[in-house]
Chain length 177, copies 2
DNA sequence: CATATTGGCCGAATCTTATTCGGTCACAAG
DNA sequence: CTTGTGACCGAATAAGATTCGGCCAATATG
């Protein structure tokens, strides 16, 4: 592969408004990133080189930040999914807490508004492993308590979708209740 | 592309234990699914055709269920991320509630143990859109109330990792606290 | 108004990579 | 011991990615 080719990472800042073609391409690629440029072109009505050019730009500008294989948690022995709310004394966004990112069972770490400080999405082999992870979380200075929501079943889980609902249907009126 | 070629979807059931090569390949592909088979082979110590064979099997057996472009929420105008806990009267897993899956801002729907019935991960354009979505959730018969945790900042967010922590370091002993 | 300049598209090469195809080897069952 | 079976490899082939030159429209420029 040539150097200078496909250099992602440059011009991260550009956000030159996505047009209809870009949106469609994003939709198709989120669904299946293995499609050929020829097929993509056919779907959106462009030639393969034109699609290639656009996809390259989407990557360059960061609209697409990664192309990943999504794996089945069961296949890799991660049967337990849980969301852990962490209350901390003071400002929870400490390097120590972020340090738990080193464990591959931690998938997300967010600071949230509401009665908790941090929210974690974790996926472990079993409850034993969740316990091990929670123990490590409690080790972090400033952690007051945690509340874990163990997932019983997942009805849907998908990557960020490019589509946006522009018109929210009116809720049923109170009189109709 | 040939028919009969690359038919994923068959033999979903097979879970013939993943070996070290498979794990390494999964790790590499989760990180970047655009790598060539030659490069993958170099990394794990196999020839390109051998890698191809294994990756095909990983897809066939469902260990890899999708290859997706992961997109930057900001690029598609989805600035607001929130986790919504939904309390329902009775068993919340109704078709009506699952019906909200049709909105592209809904990324996850789980049934959870704990004081709530369902947990949603949603990503919207702004708080206005979150309101619109919540209105639709309240429309579902049986929904008692919701609690939303709005994300202020995301410190980490990544796909399912194949690695597993086998030995959890011992927590600090109480005497050391 | 005439004319550069730019950006984006296309078809036609070209080159890289995926995929297929024997053939070999190790291991296990008969 | 012989026969399968599964997985590997190198080489050959096919498919797809990437590059290239030219074209065209929209927009600046003199």
């Amino acid at each position: 592969m040539n150097l200078e080719t496909d250099d992602v990472r440059q011009n991260e800042g550009r956000t030159r408004e996505l047009d209809a073609f870009d949106r469609k391409l994003l939709g198709l690629l989120v669904e299946d990133a293995t499609r050929s440029y020829a097929e993509l072109g056919e779907q959106v009505g462009l030639s393969a080189p034109a699609v290639h050019e656009r996809v390259k730009r989407l990557k360059r500008t960061g609209a697409i930040h990664q192309t990943a294989a999504l794996i089945n948690p069961i296949a890799v022995q991660k049967t337990l999914l849980a969301f852990v709310h962490v209350d901390t004394a003071g400002w929870g966004k400490t390097p120590e807490l972020l340090g738990i990112a080193k464990y591959p069972e931690v998938e997300e770490i967010h600071s949230v508004a509401g009665d908790t400080c941090m929210l974690l999405k974790v996926r472990t082999k079993d409850s034993r492993a969740l316990e091990g992870l929670l123990a490590r979380i409690y080790d972090v200075p400033g952690v007051i308590k945690t509340r874990s929501y163990v997932v019983l079943s997942t009805h849907m889980e998908r990557p960020v979708q490019p589509a946006i609902t522009t018109e929210w249907p009116a809720p049923r009126l109170p009189s109709q209740r």
